[in-house]
C-alpha cells in the first residue's frame, strides 16, 4: 500500500500576519503532529526517562510550569529560568528568554541537552527511540520511513508545537465583532493600548523583541539575559517579551518567576523601580487593566484535547 500522509493547514484569524515559520521545509501533516505530540509527552527524551517536555509545559496552564518560579528537571535539579508559555510559535523568530535558539526546529535541543533539564543528547534519544517498535511505526507514518533521525524528530516536535494556536479568547471574539467588552474591560483595553502595547503588541501580545523592564538581577542567578548570546553590553538584562495571552494561567511571571500574582506585576510596573518611565496607574485602573488581561484567556486552547496527553 503506498504511503500517504494527511496535510494539515494551520488555522488562524484572517487579520493575523503570515507565520514566520517556513512550512515548505516542514509541511504540517496529521501524522507529523501526532508524532510530535507523542514525543512531547514522552519521558524517554530525558536521560533517566523521568521527565518529558510536558513536565514544564503543561497544556492546561498555557504550556508553562504553574507554581514553579524555576522549573526542575531530572533528579529534582533546578534550572535558572521560568519555563515560557507555548503558543502561536509559528510567528516567533527566536526562542528562549534570551533568544538563544534561532529556529523552532532547534528549540527541543536545548532542554534535551541541558544538565538541569533532561541531561541527555539528541543522538542518545534517537538511538533509544530507534529500538521502539511503536516509534518506528509513527516515524513511518509521518515521513514514509521508519528510521529515526535527528532531523525528523526535531521537525515532528516542531509540527506539534506549531499546532498550538491560541486565537479564541474573548479578546479575539471582540476583535471579530462577535462579542462586546464589558465597560471595565474596555477601559482596561484603552489603558493597555496606551501603556503596554509597545512591547506586548497585538495580536500576539508580544513584539517578539528583547526589552529591559528594570528588574534587578537575582543575586543568586546573576542572569543578564540576551547579553550572554550577543556579547553586547547594550543587551545586558534584556529578556524576550513574553506573550500576555492566557496570562491568567501562566503564573508565576517574569524570566525568573519572581512574581506569583498578576497584581504584583502591575504593582511593579506602576512603581518607580520599573522602566525609565513608570506606568502610572490608580488602584481602579489596575483593576480595569487586569479585567482586560483576563479576556486573553482562551479556554478552547487550554483544554483542547488535541493538545493534551495522547491517550492511546
Amino acid at each position: 500500500m503506498p504511503w500517504h500522509s494527511t496535510p494539515v493547514v494551520l488555522e488562524y484569524p484572517a487579520s493575523w500576519p503570515k507565520p514566520a515559520y517556513d512550512f515548505t521545509k516542514n509541511p504540517l501533516t496529521r501524522e507529523g503532529i501526532a508524532l510530535g505530540r507523542k514525543l512531547f509527552y514522552d519521558p524517554a527524551l530525558s536521560r533517566d526517562s523521568t521527565v518529558s517536555c510536558s513536565n514544564c509545559h503543561l497544556s492546561y496552564t498555557a504550556f508553562t510550569h504553574v507554581d514553579h518560579a524555576l522549573s526542575h528537571g531530572i533528579e529534582d535539579r533546578i534550572g535558572t529560568r521560568n519555563s515560557p508559555a507555548l503558543m502561536n510559535l509559528a510567528w516567533s523568530k527566536s526562542f528562549m528568554w534570551d533568544g538563544a535558539v534561532n529556529h523552532l526546529d532547534f528549540q527541543a535541543l536545548a532542554p534535551i541537552a541541558h544538565p538541569a533539564e533532561m541531561d541527555f543528547s539528541l543522538e542518545a534519544v534517537v538511538q533509544r527511540l530507534q529500538r521502539k517498535q511503536d516509534y518506528r511505526a509513527f516515524f513511518h507514518a509521518a515521513f514514509a520511513d521508519s528510521s529515526v533521525t535527528g532531523e525528523r524528530l526535531l521537525k515532528a516536535m516542531a509540527q506539534f508545537e506549531l499546532s498550538l494556536v491560541s486565537a479564541n479568547a474573548k479578546y479575539d471574539r471582540v476583535m471579530a465583532g462577535e462579542e462586546p467588552f464589558t465597560t471595565q474591560e474596555q477601559q482596561g483595553y484603552l489603558l493597555f493600548q496606551k501603556n503596554c502595547a509597545s512591547c506586548h503588541t497585538e495580536p500576539f501580545f508580544t513584539n517578539h523583541g528583547f526589552e529591559k523592564n528594570g528588574l534587578p538581577p537575582d543575586t543568586s542567578l546573576q542572569d543578564y539575559g540576551r547579553m550572554r548570546i550577543t556579547s553586547l553590553t547594550a543587551d545586558s538584562l534584556r529578556f524576550k517579551v513574553p506573550t500576555l495571552r492566557n496570562i491568567e494561567f501562566s503564573y508565576p511571571y517574569m524570566h525568573d518567576g519572581r512574581f506569583r500574582k498578576l497584581r504584583q506585576v502591575l504593582d511593579y510596573y506602576s512603581s518607580g523601580a520599573a522602566l525609565n518611565k513608570p506606568i502610572l496607574l490608580t488602584a481602579n485602573e489596575k483593576v480595569d487593566l487586569q479585567a482586560f488581561l483576563l479576556t486573553l484567556t482562551d479556554r478552547a486552547f487550554l483544554f483542547n484535547p488535541a493538545f493534551a496527553f495522547p491517550r492511546e
Binding site: 526546529d105 536545548a110 539528541l122
Partner: protein
C-alpha cells in the same frame, strides 16, 4: 560464434573499463590532513619548541564547492555540505560531478556552514544535529572541532578543545577560500596544520566553546592552512 564471443568479451571489458576509470565528467577530491607535509600522525607530534601535542578529534565542515572561470561561477555542487572526520577515512574523499570541459581555473569553498543554513531549521545528512556539530545551548553549527592534548595547556590533563563556530556578525567564523585550480584528473586538498599548531599560544587559550573574536581568529588561521594540488 567466435565473433559473438569476442563481442561479448569486448562488452565486458568496456564495462569494466568504464567502472575503473574516472568518469570524464567528474572529478575526485581527496582531503589530506598533514603536519609538515606528512600525514597527521595518530601519535603525539613534537612541536619545534620541544613540546608535544596530539590531536584526538578533528572534524570540520567544508561546504558550497564552486568552480569558477575567470571569477565567474561555471559549476556549483548541489547540496554541498561535507562533514569530514579524521577518524572516518570515507569522509575525506568524494566525487564531484564537475566536467573539466568547463575550463574552470579556481575552486571556491567554505570552511564551515553559511549563515542562511544556520537559520533554516533542522536538516538531514551531514547537517543532522545528531552529528555532534550543532550547539544546543545556542543555535548554530560548530564549523570545526579540534580536541586533544598539549604539554603547554594548563587545563586538566593538558587537554584542549576548540569548537569554532558562530554565524552572526561581528563574530561570524565562516571562512571562504578561493584557490587556483590545478590541471589534472583529480584534486588533493591539503590541510597542513603545522603553521596553525606551531603559532597558536597554547599557554593562554586551550578552550574555545562559543562564538567570539577568538573563534574568528583561529578560524582564519586554519583557513590559511589549505592548499590545492593535482592528483
Amino acid at each position: 560464434m567466435l565473433i559473438r564471443s569476442i563481442l561479448f568479451l569486448w562488452a565486458i571489458a568496456a564495462a569494466f573499463n568504464a567502472q575503473s576509470q574516472p568518469a570524464s565528467d567528474s572529478i575526485r577530491i581527496t582531503v589530506q590532513l598533514q603536519y609538515k607535509g606528512q600525514a597527521l600522525p595518530n601519535s603525539p607530534l613534537t612541536l619545534p619548541n620541544g613540546n608535544t601535542l596530539q590531536i584526538h578529534t578533528l572534524r570540520f565542515y567544508l561546504s558550497r564547492f564552486i568552480f569558477l572561470k575567470n571569477q565567474t561561477t561555471v559549476w556549483e555542487e548541489p547540496n554541498s555540505y561535507h562533514l569530514l572526520d579524521m577518524e572516518e577515512k570515507n569522509t575525506l574523499s568524494w566525487r564531484l560531478p564537475f566536467n573539466r570541459k568547463l575550463q574552470a581555473n579556481q575552486l571556491q569553498f567554505h570552511l564551515g556552514i553559511d549563515s542562511l543554513t544556520n537559520v533554516s531549521g533542522a536538516m538531514g545528512g551531514d547537517l543532522d544535529p545528531t552529528k555532534g556539530m550543532f550547539w544546543t545551548w545556542q543555535s548554530g553549527y560548530i564549523n570545526l572541532k579540534m580536541e586533544g592534548v598539549c604539554d603547554l595547556c594548563t587545563t586538566k590533563d593538558h587537554s584542549f578543545q576548540l569548537h569554532l563556530g558562530g554565524y552572526q556578525g561581528p563574530y561570524a567564523a565562516l571562512q571562504t577560500l578561493r584557490l587556483p585550480l590545478p590541471e589534472g584528473k583529480n584534486l588533493r586538498l591539503t590541510l597542513d596544520l603545522a603553521f596553525f599548531l606551531e603559532n597558536a599560544d597554547w599557554t593562554k587559550k586551550c578552550n574555545i566553546m562559543s562564538p567570539g573574536a577568538e573563534a574568528v581568529a583561529w578560524s582564519r588561521a586554519l583557513a590559511n592552512c589549505f592548499s590545492l594540488h593535482a592528483e
